[in-house]
Amino acid sequence: MAVFLMVCWSAADAAQPKLAKEQILNIAFDAGDLKTLDPHQAASTNDRSAVDPVHNGLVRYPPGDQVKLEPDLATSWKVSSDKKVWTFSLRKGVYFHPFPGFPKGYELTAEDVVYSLTRAADPKRSSYAGEYTGISVEAVNPYTVKITIDKPVSEPLFLAKFASYAGGFIVSKKAIETKGDEWIKINPVGTGPFMFDSYEPRQKIVLKANPKYFRGAPILKQVVIRFMPAVASREFGLRTGELHIIEGLKEDKWAETVASFPDVVVKTFGPCESQVLHFNMAKPPFNDVRVRKAFSYAVSREEVAAFMGKGLAVPIYSPAQAPPAPGALTKEEAQKAGVIYESNIAEAKKLLAEAGYPDGLKTEVIISEMASSYQKPMIAIQAQVKKAGIDMALKVVDHSSFHSLIRDDASPIVYYASWRPNVDVFLTRFYHSDSVVKTGKKPDTNFTHYGAVDADGDGNVDSIDDLITKARWELDASKQAAIWREAQIQLLKHAAVVPIIRLKYNFPMKSYVDLGHPLEFSWATYSPQITEKTRILAK
């Protein structure tokens, strides 16, 4: 019997892949430095990749998944019959990472959750405050938290606010109260599988394993996140094996070349940034719906996708989130509603002539220096619309300047690549009248001025504000999605925007890195998520 057991044990052991001796994972990002590791403010890809493994939320999207929610710091939750009061039971025995004054950390309680969510709702301390309006949080006992919302929302919209992402991250009350908000910008304290270890400005962040992690101690001993803005340097580092994972260019040809290197696999995954072309409807010539429709007919999103590379770019038809996000408009739905504007140069020319531009028109558009997200697709679009007589000059500026200028309403067209956690946020921030750049009540990223101008030329201001509000408070998820689709169809009928493509993320990595989960989607980080299961296998 003993011999049999030993044989079984050895067989099971042999089936396990061998681990590399050194479990230190090196990742390099296209970045000059970190901006902040405060989870309630971190927004860039590299910052999020460091924030994510350090923190948890009440609930989480399992690594690699984008739809299903599962318990994280909360073990369970229940909701009142009026859907206004949500009660979360917290996991016991979860410890914050050590920090000065607390060399062993301390146990997470409801107080930390209340503190974190109240902080997430504070516009001075959080970039995501708007999403927590009308929400109050209180501790019922050390392991129970009650969250009350003024107006109930559907479960997917509600739980998303408390997932391990952005404002949903739970921070250490004691760390921030004793060390301050500035301190945690480069010294984050959370409960995640990895603890912050050190930071070298413009060089790297080092995270180390948290042996007390409640899902089990991580296999990796360290994660080194490097800032390497030169793509050639990242590529060389990957080839020599000094780097295990690198942020790649969102270009098919480049990905193909890198994939041909020994021991390298290229992973492409979502969430994809939706690239949408927004017309400034407050100024001529794009205040005329016929000109916008002409432009829409002149563009072929399929050609843009092919130009970018079929492995990375997918044509989209939704002016908000791209499918499979709930409520995102699919090609079939857009086709049925007659708002696809299939490429048709003759129709484009006809519409331009009707609008008083029989010889075409000239325009100058400000675009960002970022090649994959802005320059390349706009170069393709520039060539397409030229055929219809639209002479679109591209003024390339650096990325920071681009963000300032477009918020200053300086460009007649804004080509914008973005990802937002749900359709509600997308519609609110890009198309609600309050969000109109410069002149809205809460100026944000409504570059089209939709909701503040007459979009179809009938003399009345057109808006989807009511639809956005109605959908937000709709508790039935399928009805909510239907209202979102209705709003998107209206935007497209008025040709306020042209959805172009969604572009996948592209991270080449060493074939002997096992992430520990499938990589179809990375909710929290835009980069492969590093968890307690991630490991480096022997070559």
């Binding site: 403010q41 970039s127 070298e200 413009r202 790297k204 050639a232 920071s400 100026p443």
Partner: protein, 313 residues
């Protein structure tokens, strides 16, 4: 000499002040909001405004300027407006790497460049001369970043001898030198090109002097003429212009640091520009200015040492 040094340092104060003012204006003329750069496009307007207030960017420009000059006067480089990390600490962490890289490149440049220059001048219009001239022309024409990439392809990818990421640790000398070799060679070859050309033309000038001809006529041995009469005099412009080329080298080190992902003033500078990190950007520019002023001063002093005809009043 002491009074000369003091006077030169005092003379550099107006230069520094002009540079400070120019840097202050230029970084603020650039479009782009540091608060948006820090928080990303997803941040709400309130969050951006709150951060701008915290960064002190909502204060009038004149107040920001006075604050900036006052801080610099007190030797306070401030903190990064993006991360809040002290700029002095950032500079202290990277400056040794930039200095190490630049000094290694200068040493390499002189070690390779002077013998090449001598051999080219002594064997003028021979194959050696042509080869050395083409070699130095190539060194001047090939951009440092391109040369760096070629060296990486050869010595890190094809023949995996040297690492390509980072600069190693000062505590581990072997590691430090392995990381230093390729970047130093990249910059060193650039310096070699300058020094080779300069040495050649300087030696050729001296070779035509009467006292050299006299030495030859007296039957002094060829090597003795070369080392005692020619090189000594040819050294003066080589040292003097070497200082100027060192300044060029510091400029080129920016790209080399980026290609080799090394910590350094260059990576600090480029990162600060991208993030619109005004305080770091201003401080790095000041450090560069101080380095250039110091190199010029040092060059003048060395000039006096190698040429006894020069006296400091």
């Amino acid at each position: 000499m002491f009074s000369y040094v003091v006077r030169r340092i005092l003379q550099s104060i107006p230069i520094l002040l002009i540079v400070l003012t120019l840097v202050f204006i230029v970084v603020r003329v650039l479009p782009g909001d540091p608060a948006v750069a820090a928080l990303g496009d997803y941040a709400s307007k309130e969050a951006v405004n709150a951060l701008r207030e915290k960064m002190g960017l909502n204060a009038p420009l004149w107040r920001q300027y006075l604050q900036f000059i006052g801080d610099i006067g007190r030797g306070d480089l401030g903190t990064s407006i993006i991360t809040g990390y002290p700029v002095a600490k950032q500079v202290a962490a990277v400056l040794p790497h930039t200095l190490l890289l630049t000094i290694s490149a200068i040493i390499l440049g002189y070690l390779i460049g002077v013998p090449l220059g001598i051999s080219a001048a002594v064997r003028r219009n021979s194959f050696v001369d042509y080869f050395n001239r083409v070699f130095s022309l190539l060194g001047l024409s090939v951009p440092a970043f391109y040369l760096g990439i070629l060296l990486i392809l050869l010595f890190s990818i094809k023949i995996p001898l040297f690492p390509v990421v980072g600069a190693g640790e000062f505590a581990n000398l072997k590691d430090l030198l392995r990381h230093l070799f390729l970047p130093a060679l990249t910059l060193g070859l650039l310096m070699t090109a300058y020094i080779t050309r300069m040495s050649r033309s300087s030696i050729l000038n001296i070779l035509g002097e009467d006292y050299v001809r006299t030495a030859h006529a007296k039957g002094v041995a060829e090597n003795r003429v070369l080392y005692k009469h020619v090189l000594r005099n040819a050294l003066i412009p080589i040292v003097a212009l070497g200082g100027l080329y060192t300044v060029v080298l510091i400029g080129s080190s920016v790209m080399v640091e980026i290609v080799f992902s090394r910590p350094g003033l260059g990576t600090l500078l480029v990162g600060a520009i991208k993030q619109r990190d005004y305080t770091t950007l201003q401080s790095v520019m000041i450090i560069y200015t101080v380095i250039v002023v110091l190199i010029n001063l040092l060059t003048d002093l060395i000039y006096g040492l190698v040429d006894p005809r020069i006296k400091y009043d």
